[in-house]
């Protein structure tokens, strides 16, 4: 099998003198097992490949991709990208990355065990997950999904400007969503565990989370509308961070599409908020050696003690801003690079979730949110999502609620953060989870 880096170099060697060319080629191996009713519901395996080729000539950018590594098709794809470039409009900041001398972080993201685990063992993990969930609580009536999934991916990036980078990573996870029923009320929960190798997965925890989170919502009713202090579950915080990541994109800022434009060095958040993007942390599932343009991943401080310190840049947005790339180009082979934040994390505080709930006294604990893509406008900052969770009464978790909304603006939420929990943990979505206390949120219900 041809080395990916050789293929990338081959594409780049066909560049014409007056053009910049970037080749991004990838190969992966995936397995997905779903269990249902004590049997394998489906078993999928594949080795997908693909290549994306970017041509910049005279400041005009063209791109073409193909879901193959066939050399003849790659030659056609380069021609197609070149043709596409002739129809763009010139931008003096357009161009591929140049080597910047920053060394990729020394990360070992591939465990031999992941590649060596037989399919049979993966199937057992999925079957066990379903079985354990059904046996966990007598109120569990079924399991919608019990799944084992893994992937191992390799990427090579080469450019006419001298970038020659490779990165590889492996990941596996278990996901379960149990259905529970009591007195005619049905609830569904979800539990996940992710790791670099199957032996590091924690199925017991996925089952406990999945069943526990469903059971405690049984009997939930619509709460009265009011202003409350909310305690966000670590998973909800991680989803909130992912949205904030988009607003901290240098590209969005420069194009007037970010609520943080022109606010560097201003207090945009409460004191407890320190936010950074850290794909160099080996614990982060979004960790990586290089970004989508082949530049080293690096640690980027975004908000420190509530003060906005900077934004994330890829090569083009960095040039436009007169700043170096922060190694934040995110992409797949079928898309051009764009600014992304693969590993956002809040600096944890000192108190446990139980201590935070006790300190809040009266409010709501939000276990899950929905409609993030429909109810949050990252340009205006308007924030409104569906929420389920538990009331907080007398400093303890109390009765469950459902069919409610929580609303504010992203600007207000950051300023209204009261405290960050100590329970920091990297989650498979790319951001780190941690309990977050935010005051003055509109709870919409009856």
């Amino acid at each position: 099998m041809t080395e990916l880096s050789d293929l990338a170099a081959l594409v780049v060697s066909r560049a014409r003198p007056d053009e910049e060319v970037e080749a991004y080629v990838t190969r992966s191996r995936t397995t997905n097992v779903r269990a249902y009713g004590g049997e394998i519901e489906s078993l999928s395996s594949a080795e997908p490949v693909g290549a994306g080729i970017r041509v910049v000539a005279g400041g005009k950018q063209g791109f073409a991709w193909a879901g193959t590594l066939d050399e003849d098709v790659l030659a056609d794809t380069l021609d197609e990208a070149r043709d596409n470039a002739s129809f763009g409009q010139a931008d003096r900041f357009a161009g591929v990355a140049h080597p910047d001398g920053v060394a990729p972080p020394p990360l070992d993201l591939v465990r031999a065990e992941l590649l060596e685990t037989p399919t049979k063992a993966k199937v057992e993990l999925a079957l066990d997950l379903e079985r354990a969930s059904l046996g966990r609580d007598e109120r569990v009536t079924g399991v919608r999904v019990a799944m084992y999934s893994d992937s191992y991916g390799e990427v090579a990036v080469a450019t006419t400007t001298g970038i020659e980078a490779t990165t590889e990573a492996g990941l596996c996870y278990l996901y379960v969503s149990p259905l529970v029923e009591e007195d005619g009320d049905t609830q569904i929960g979800s539990g996940t565990t992710a790791a670099r190798a199957p032996s590091d997965l924690d199925p017991e925890r996925a089952v406990a989370d999945g069943v526990g989170r469903a059971v405690r919502l049984l009997g939930a009713v619509k709460p009265p509308s009011r202003r409350v202090t909310v305690v966000l579950d670590p998973e909800v915080t991680a989803e909130l961070l992912s949205i904030l990541g988009g607003t901290l994109s240098g590209d969005a800022v420069l194009k007037g599409r970010s609520l943080f434009a022109g606010r560097e060095e201003e207090a945009v958040a409460a004191g407890p908020v320190t936010l950074l993007s850290d794909p160099t942390d080996p614990g982060a599932f979004g960790a990586g050696h290089v970004d989508g343009e082949g530049l080293a991943r690096r640690r980027v401080p975004l908000i420190e003690g509530g003060t906005l310190r900077g934004f994330l840049y890829d090569t083009a947005s960095g040039r436009r801003a007169g700043r170096p790339s922060t190694g934040s180009a995110s992409r797949t082979y079928s898309s051009t690079p764009g600014v992304g934040a693969p590993a956002l994390t809040l600096t944890p505080g000192t108190r446990s979730q139980a201590e935070l709930v006790a300190a809040v006294g009266d409010g709501v604990y939000v276990q899950e949110v929905s409609g993030l893509h429909s109810g949050v406008n990252p340009v205006s900052g308007d924030f409104s999502v569906g929420a389920t969770g538990l009331a907080i009464r007398g400093g303890a978790l109390a009765e469950p609620f459902r069919e409610a909304t929580i609303a504010s603006t992203l600007q207000r939420i950051l300023l209204d953060v009261v405290e960050v929990g100590a329970d920091h943990e990297w989650l498979p979505g790319g951001a780190a989870g941690v309990t977050l206390v935010v005051r003055d949120i509109s709870l919409g219900g009856a």
Binding site: G37, E39, I40, E41, S42, L43, S44, S45, A46, E47, P48, V49, G62, F63, A64, W65, A66, G67, T68, D83, N84, F87, G88, Q89, D91, T141, G142, R144, V145, L179, T186, Q187, S225, K255, G256, R257, L259, S334, T336, S370, G371, H373, S374, G375, N377, V379, S380, D382, S384, G386, T388, R402, E403, T405, A407, S442, L443, G444, G445, A446
Partner: protein, 462 residues
């Protein structure tokens, strides 16, 4: 795309370990996009994805493998991987008969690939200029053109062999306006299962102006209420309500796992008698239409709810097989790299009789939603949300001040019974992408103007 004799050999091989059913899904997909941002055509792209997915079913178990290598060697390797789940033996002698490949008719009068890229790019610059012409408060405009062509071939061990040639064209404009209250966004998009003839009667400049006006209007918007109110939804602006409130809950895979509040309710009244809901894959050139679904069956029109009574669920091959019934032709997949599952096509509420203006006049106080964004549903509980991206207050029977973006939340089975007026002005909405278990497929939705007696509006105002 594939020679029928090769397809037959691959199906034979896939059944060698004793599987009961095998299927080859081959796909050759191409797409082209052009995007204008910040006043410049930033990128013109094109892509090609070609490959096959092979499925083997044995009892309740499905094995699946896919490959980008359409040679006999590549397909045989995928067939072997997919068949590894069936280990009962006893296969191997079954001969699969498949007929010759019928010619698929492309769903386009003018193939987009025959149109020079310069003409596609020019649509973007015209939309940009028109949007910016709406005023200096318009600070940013993004315009996107996209076309795709997807040729598929489906063959299975029941002797089915079918092909389709699916062409789609789409255009979208997003504008950002800036004012004293900060930034606001407006969006307009349209798309059809048609070729470039779409632009014969679609005015891209008007699209730019509409997006700009939506953003400008919201600069003066007040925060949405935070409570339960009557909500009137404008025709063509809110079909997503039904997609989320009950569409997903009527998908037989979720029903079969009892992960839907609509399980066991066929034949029962589940909605107001004003509600007749249809899912129609044959519908004109709508975004969610096709000639065959991704399991090779001819598209169909299915009535899901008739006069408030739940008539049927939607089925794919596996669910229909386990219940011993016909498919409803709702088996779809994102690409050859995905397993098919039950999906909607074009889902819509049929026309009622009321004058839409009268519906507003008869609403003393509430919210008027002109455009909804996406949504999300928990099918197990029926709770769903959907976002309003253009909305106004209704005061004393008249549409008044604009509202900032917010989600609405409701419970599917409850909301369906709370629909108390349906207008006579049916319209389809903008093209959508429906996500389920990690797969996105194009879907359409539509409805006449209607009122829901009580929905929770998730704003921040009292």
């Amino acid at each position: 795309m594939l020679d029928p004799s090769l397809v037959r050999r691959v199906l034979d091989s896939a059944l060698r370990t004793g599987g009961e059913f095998a299927e080859v899904f081959a796909e050759d997909a191409r797409n082209a996009t052009a995007r204008l941002d910040d006043g410049r055509v930033e990128e013109v792209t094109s892509g090609r994805s070609r490959g096959a997915g092979i499925r083997v079913v044995d009892g309740e178990t499905t094995g699946f493998a896919h490959t980008a290598d359409l040679s006999e060697r590549g397909l045989m390797a995928a067939a072997e991987a997919a068949s590894a789940v069936a280990r009962r033996g006893g296969g191997g002698t079954r001969m699969v008969a498949v007929s010759s490949v019928p010619e698929a008719r492309p769903s386009a009068a003018v193939l987009p690939e025959t149109i020079p890229k310069a003409i596609k790019v020019e649509l973007l610059t015209r939309a940009d200029a028109a949007a910016r012409g709406e005023g200096s408060a318009i600070r940013q405009v993004t315009a996107t053109y996209a076309d795709s062509r997807r040729r598929i071939l489906v063959a299975n061990s029941d002797g089915l062999l079918a092909t389709d040639d699916q062409i789609k064209t789409r255009f979208a404009v997003q504008a950002v306006a800036s004012g004293d209250t900060g930034l606001q966004t407006g969006r307009e998009s349209q798309g059809f299962s048609r070729g470039f003839e779409f632009f014969d009667d679609y005015d891209v400049e008007e699209a730019g102006r509409v997006a700009a006006r939506r953003a400008l209007t919201k600069l003066n918007a007040r925060p949405a209420p935070s409570r339960t109110l009557p909500v009137v939804i404008k025709n063509g602006g809110g079909g997503v309500l039904f997609h989320e409130a009950c569409g997903h809950g009527l998908e037989a895979d979720l029903v079969g796992k009892r992960a839907s509040v609509f399980a066991g309710r066929r034949g029962q009244t589940v909605a107001s008698s004003l509600v007749t809901l249809v899912d129609d894959g044959t519908m004109g050139s709508e975004w969610g239409m096709y000639a065959i679904d991704d399991e090779g069956h001819a598209a169909a029109r299915n009535v899901l709810i008739e006069d408030g009574v739940l008539t049927d669920y939607m089925y794919d091959f596996l669910r229909a097989r386990s219940e011993g019934r016909e498919v409803s032709t709702n088996g779809r997949r994102q690409s050859y790299r995905h397993l098919p599952m039950v999906r909607m096509t074009n889902t819509f509420l049929v026309n009622g009789t009321e004058d839409p203006d009268e519906i507003v006049r008869q609403t003393p106080h509430g919210v008027y939603v002109a455009q909804l964004g996406g949504g999300e549903v928990n099918t197990a509980t029926g709770d769903f949300v959907f976002g309003m991206t253009e909305a106004y207050l209704i005061e004393d029977g008249a549409v008044t001040e604009p509202l900032r973006d917010a989600n609405l939340i409701g419970n599917g089975p409850e909301v369906l019974t709370l629909i108390d007026v349906v207008g006579n002005d049916f319209a389809m909405g903008p093209p959508g992408t429906c996500g389920k278990d990690g797969q996105g497929v194009p879907v359409g939705d539509g409805q006449p103007t209607l009122r829901v007696r009580a929905l929770t509006v998730g704003g921040t105002a009292a």
